[in-house]
Amino acid sequence: MVRRRLSRWAALGRTVLGRTVLGRALPGRVGRGRVGRGRVSALPVALVLAGMAGLSGLGGCGAGEPAAGDADAREVTVFAAASLTGAFTELGEAFEAAHPGTTVRFNFGSSATLAQQIVQGAPADVFAAASPATMKTVTDATAAGSPTTFARNRLRIAVPPDNPARVDELKDLADPKVKVALCAEQVPCGAAAVKALEAARLKVTPVTLEQDVKATLTKVQLGEVDAALVYETDVIAAAGKVTGIAFPEADLAVNDYPIATLAGAGDAARRFVDLVLSRQGGDVLAEAGFGSREPGREPG
Amino acid sequence: MTLDARLVVTRPAFTLDLALRAERGKVVALLGPNGAGKTTALRALAGLSPLSGGHISLRGRPLHTLPAESRPIGMVFQDYLLFPHLSALDNVAFGPRCQGVSKAESRRVAAELLERVGLAGHAAARPRQLSGGQAQRVALARALAVRPELLLLDEPLAALDAHTRLEVRSRLRRHLAEFDGATVLVTHDPLDAMVLADRLVVIEGGAVVQQGTPGEVARRPRTDYVARLVGLNLYRGAADGGRVDVGGLLVHTSEQFDGPAFVAFAPTAVAIYRSRPDGSPRNLWQATIEGVERHGDNVRVHLDGPVTAFADVTPAAVADLDLTPGQRIWASVKATETHAYPA
């Protein structure tokens, strides 16, 4: 979580430098180590850039580390929504086993953050987002391939295993005695929660609006809140530590997960997307709790 | 007897064991070289360093069982340690305030004391605005403000330059004379000790080596350190009537007694000759000049031979005799200018 936050700020720093201070002297991806090609002669600026590179390296997750050049297709960098962490890590291992010599590097994080990093020139080959809206910011601003929906995620009510507030349906969350955590409206799970609650015509006053779904889930796990709205996949990933409760309004706020290759992606990147869209990919995703990409067809 | 103490402080590689007495209205000076344990003794009296043994009693009451803040003492530190964030007046009023006196009354007492030490006009000054001599007087006023029964002074003049020292010394002497409790003063300067103290206690290596009135100590030094302090040549030997054998030289003296003895004479009593003088004075020996240095208006000649000695001669004599290091000369002292006493 911290690493993610750091890389977020590093990305902002890069944005600001790349866009305004250095203007066109440093086209594109500062993080890829193209500093040498720019017309930057002043030593201090170079030093600062070196420092920034170091900082973003610390931020980690591939966003700022000098990656291999575009021509080298033996490495695929995938930016993916945090909820995909388990499933994509497994798919990445399968991909590497099937394509010896090729490595897949992941940068998991909040979709909105990843989208901004990509727009600001982060070196990604594939983007898998948790909502079509975040994908749209990328496809609008860059020369990405056309996105395909590969998974869907539904909301569930998550409660601690002992369910202290005896929650069993969505309207129980409107009880002022029940402490509820929701995702902030700015992130996809929060937007979905608002949609579901509106559909149910319920007014829920949460005690907190968490910055992402994992943080929301943590509050349930620690028993700090009595209930939260999170994705089904998160409930499955936290098996045993929280109990998931399905509710009918969840179907009105389903989240589609689109995936797309990005500008400059090589064959390996396309093959990775193919794997995600394949039956094998569908199985792994289904195991993690994602619904099928085609409504009505259950994976299996 | 106001103060009666035996101070034992043991540390790795150092032991202080010192009996100390001081009467009301009297000043006792602890005199000794650096590292002799003077300051340790003073800190033990103040309660700032723990005693390993012994006792301290003041007017019959035990003091060593009390923490520093409960002892009826006043202390003047070597560099005064005036609180930098308080004015001179508030520094002096600090003690009374701690004793529970009201703010107004404390300040009144403090103002009075500042006036007594001649600093009424500097009441509002911060310590860093005061000269060394002024700071010393504020420190004294601060120590006196708690109405101590025992006043402790740690090298009270050491931080002053030579000129200020002269004036501050005589002022301090007046203030100490007015103080009705006992005073213990630590110094390594014999002049301070002679001027300020009623009694000297000389300590070396943590133990008392000599004590007495300043006059006694100055006339009859018993260690090389004291002899150097008071500026005398000192030898130890065996007396046999009017002669003392100090090892390699038989010194004829005016005193007559037998047994272990000290012989002392002043450097100015030594006469120097290029060649063996006629008439053969009785205390005559041949020596080598080790060094020549200025000493006040005279020149001090360091002599090596059967005994080592200092001789003070005039600059004219140095020129006439052409005294330079390494030269062989003859030295003599009249018997009437030596002073022998039992060891």
């Binding site: 030093l47 909105a112 910055q211 | 803040e69 006043g74």
Partner: protein, 253 residues
Amino acid sequence: MLVVPAVAGLAFLVLPLAGLLIRAPWSTLPARLAEPHVLEALRLSLVSATVATACCLLLGVPLAWLLARVRFPGRRLVRALVTVPLVLPPVVGGVALLLVLGRRGLVGQWLESAFGVTLPFTTAGVVIAEMFVAMPFLVISVEGALRGADQRFEEAAATLGASRWTVFRRVTLPMVMPGVAAGAVLCWARALGEFGATITFAGNFPGTTRTMPLAVYLALETEPEAAIVLSLVLLAVSVVILAALRDRWVSTP
């Protein structure tokens, strides 16, 4: 010899700020500033950072005194423990706070059953999260000042009849005041920028726990320009306050 790295160092620190200034949407700035949620978050940030600093002074100065002046077994260990929040990722600190002071935490459980008090998701929780992260700055600064201070002044006070408490209050504390002030400023600045422990322990709800850093973070999800505006506000307010305090406290010994 030293000027080149010094300038590079300065540039490294200042360029990102310059970036914020250059990228700021100046035309819409007044309108964005007037939004009530901005002022709300700013007020909450200032109040909670100030209260946290006051509480840190109350607890941290005596702690620094203990570490600097009292010999006790395990002092080195305690000193190391005090700096733990510095190396601990703030989010981990927030989780740790939840485990102790949360509704099911060791102490929190008892707080709730005995007093009906729960700290997470309250402004008090924000203050606690900020204290946890910021207090080491104060303790380290004050302890350094105490160790640097000449202890013989304290001895002099003792010979004048001052008790330990009087010595501390009237001699030690005034003499280390510049160190205390510097520590308090650092502590306040750290508390003002606190994010990880706050969002983890106290959550994020407008008006009660959403401080400026949290507002910046969330704005960054959807509206980077709003995030820049909020950052600028935080920056401007803290620079003004720090500069004012620095002149008043730190420069005069």
